[in-house]
Symmetry: C2
């Protein structure tokens, strides 16, 4: 036990975030594994964009941007509540009507 | 409606985001699969917090919050370049009620 930490162990948010910090490296590895599945699409798209637009297009940056956007929009899987949000359990039989058509990110 | 979309197909960011929109549902499934691996830890932690703190602690909400935080921090895998963006690293001394870099939706 780290006796010098002044973290409030009774703050629910901090308690959960301590756990998150511990799990994050492993989680990140798993996330990277997922992204590897999609990276070829992003690379192809970024390369097409570069070809079509040229100029100061930086494919690597486009790819990083779109990856961050993927993560941002994945947050919709875990909606903030207040308004009786649906459970985050995923039902593959149900098509989600709330797919991210909002290009707000 | 497709035929009426006035999207600029030559905007690199929009082009990439159109692809993202197409891939997002599949991506979300993969992300959920990853989270299933960690959910038992989050559930246990949230239940402990509820037990220790009680009151108005809502375990489900704590879990959703920490999941969103995982995704937020996973963005560090794809850092923004140039303007040496401040990393959303968590400072346990600072209590946050909101997300660190909640850019948008």
């Amino acid at each position: 036990r780290r006796s010098q930490m002044t973290v409030s162990y009774t703050d629910p948010v901090i308690s959960m975030d301590l756990l998150r910090t511990v799990l994050q490296p492993s989680f990140n590895e798993d996330i990277l594994a997922v992204f590897r599945k999609y990276m070829k699409f992003f690379e192809k798209a970024a390369s097409n964009v570069k070809e079509n637009v040229g100029g100061d297009v930086q494919p690597d940056q486009l790819i990083r941007d779109v990856c961050r956007n993927c993560l941002e929009h994945a947050k919709q899987l875990f909606p903030e509540t207040e308004k009786t949000a649906p459970k985050p359990s995923y039902d593959p039989a149900v098509k989600r009507s709330r797919q991210p058509d909002d290009i707000s990110g």
